[in-house]
């Protein structure tokens, strides 16, 4: 194989190395936490334990991807939690209907895409800041979820719960499929445009990137991922709950920022965001396993998030000094 500095393959690897540079520390921390977790809880290494672990991680990974996707093109969403709840509610009320489980799946996909696209249309074409639009949107989406299902309930077929949240690592397999799909998406003009729009909207516009359309597409995909996370949560719990997703708004942002995705757009990688969500998930699991009361978990989570964001900054300062 030809690996001279001018070959495309050499360039590709050099770029990937550079994008990974800030993340090596994160990978080490994640690996350390995973090892601690495996020592505390050897069951992790069995298929059943691994399945349970990946099922706890999966919805968080999805919403972190959804948030990172928006942050990469300069947006943000404060409506992630409500949309997870809505996804769960839509799944729980439509799967018992005449269209069955497949109809319910389609309903969740459509709900996620439509709500995401509407948000994107408002942000892109009316030029309102994403943080405010999604803030208002979070009230609207919460209201819709409450209207559809005022109290927890609904129906999820048992075989679906078994298939998604049973003793097989289906969730992990789905995550791998989604990551491959993301890699393929990045190879399309829209995928490259996503980064370009986040990094420099004016420059992207001048280079012929359809800035507005890409914003709408990214919001739509993000809505889809979030609603699917809701479907998964509904399958996990066996029912729908109009407020089940609340904690996901904060955790999605925390995961993305831990993974090195910047708020100003164009900076960061999806693999970093995934690693960030994994770190968060392992942390929560370890605290649970060590018998921290749920309250102390809040305290520890606040401290650890700040610490994990601050440590890379310190590391780079020491390197310079």
């Amino acid at each position: 194989m030809n690996l001279s500095p001018s070959s495309p393959r050499w360039l590709y690897l050099a770029i990937q190395r550079r994008r990974n540079r800030g993340l090596n520390g994160l990978y080490l921390v994640v690996a350390a936490f995973l090892i601690v977790y495996a020592i505390l809880f050897p069951g992790l290494l069995s298929i059943g334990g691994f399945s349970k672990f990946s099922q706890n991680w999966f919805p968080l990974a999805l919403v972190t991807m959804a948030q990172a996707l928006l942050m990469l093109n300069g947006g943000i969403s404060l409506a992630i939690g409500p949309l997870v709840s809505l996804g769960a509610v839509v799944a729980a009320i439509s799967m018992g209907g005449p269209a069955g489980a497949f109809g319910g799946f389609v309903a969740v996909v459509v709900a996620g895409l439509v709500i995401g696209a509407l948000t994107g249309l408002i942000v892109a074409y009316m030029r309102l800041p994403a943080i405010i639009v999604t803030l208002a949107g979070s009230f609207i989406i919460t209201g819709v979820a409450l209207l559809l299902l005022p109290r927890p309930g609904g129906y999820i077929p048992d075989w679906l719960s078994q298939a998604l949240a049973g003793h097989q690592p289906t969730a992990f397999a789905l995550l791998v499929v989604i990551l491959i799909a993301w890699k393929l998406f990045l190879a399309t003009p829209t995928g490259i445009g996503l980064y370009a729009v986040g990094d420099n909207p004016v420059g992207a516009f001048r280079s012929g990137v359809p800035v507005e359309r890409i914003r709408v597409v990214s919001f739509a995909i993000s809505g889809l991922l979030t609603a699917l996370a809701g479907l998964f949560v509904a399958a996990q719990t066996g029912s729908g709950d109009p407020v089940i997703g609340t904690s996901f708004t904060l955790n999605s942002m925390a995961g993305a920022v831990l993974g090195g995705v910047g708020f100003l757009g164009g900076k960061g990688t999806m693999r970093g965001a995934i690693a960030g969500s994994l770190l968060l998930s392992v942390m929560i699991n370890v605290m649970f396993f060590l018998g921290f009361p749920p309250v102390a978990q809040y305290v520890a989570q606040g401290v650890i998030i700040v610490g994990a964001v601050a440590i890379p900054v310190f590391a780079s300062r020491w390197r310079k000094a």
């Binding site: 408002i122 009316m126 030029r127 309102l128 800041p129 943080i131 405010i132 639009v133 803030l135 208002a136 949107g137 979070s138 009230f139 609207i140 989406i141 919460t142 209201g143 819709v144 979820a145 409450l146 209207l147 005022p150 909207p201 004016v202 516009f205 904060l250 942002m253 925390a254 920022v257 708020f263 309250v295 102390a296 978990q297 809040y298 305290v299 520890a300 989570q301 606040g302 401290v303 998030i305 700040v306 964001v309 601050a310 900054v313 310190f314």
Partner: protein
Amino acid sequence: MKAASITRILFRNPPLLTLALVALVWIVAGATLRGFGAVGHLRYILELSAIIGIVAAGQTLVILVGGIDLSVGAVITVTAILLPLISPDWDSTGIVGVVVTLAVAAVIGLGNGMGQVYLSVPAIIMTLAMATFLQGLLVLIAGGSAVSVTNEAVIWLGSARPFGVPASIVVWILVAVAVLIIIHRLPFGARLLALGANPLTARLSGVNVNRTTLAVYALAGLFSGVAGLLVLGMNRQGYVGIGDPYLMTSIAAVVLGGTSILGGRGSYAGTIPGAILLVTTTALITVVNASPGWRSIMFGSLILALLLISGREAQR
């Protein structure tokens, strides 16, 4: 003056536009709804606006420097629960408890600033993490039960009406004057606007970025603390979650007042009518007597609609 030029003046001046919206809503609602225009009802709306307005005073300063404070709700809850617990019995006026609680609120705000200055954590993450941290700490301290207030000073704040004006509105006027002076008359205000518009230029022009950031977040904590005392005075009880509704409303009030969420542009003069507009909207939705779901939908849609009028970012 021609109608066209009036609309142009309004759209060039967001605070005036928001004020005009409030006037419009009040006139229409007063003419169509029985009891809306009663002095007692309008005074009640202003009392509720005072709390949001005071929280939003800190939020305005923070947003003007280009940050955001997502811990204001948690700080309100902290003050509402901490004050009854730490007010000493020997102090019959309750002033000691008030001063200590406000100091704690300011220190929490300072902590938000320190995280950003010394650890380089982004504002949104720092304040969110602070909120999470405080939420856990509170349940550990208070054990999840409500605490009643016996502090005389706080009860006075919640119920007194010197010259017929509720004390909370008096406090709001004081805060408003102070914040307007800070932003528009003091060098500190010029520095924070410069910092929000362009941090690099501000630093190169000799603005002490670290000190300005610390001061702004400490002020935001202090104002949330003041609001927390008012909430406690009105409710006579502090419980976990009492401050939650004020987080989103404070941000919405700032943005409805025409302050740019990106920082560097805006004024507290817009936030004042913004807060009144929000409370009026909520009051009107309550009148309609809908289910919680519909109320939430209407509130979100109205914020969105109001934003279309007053919250647009400049064209690229």
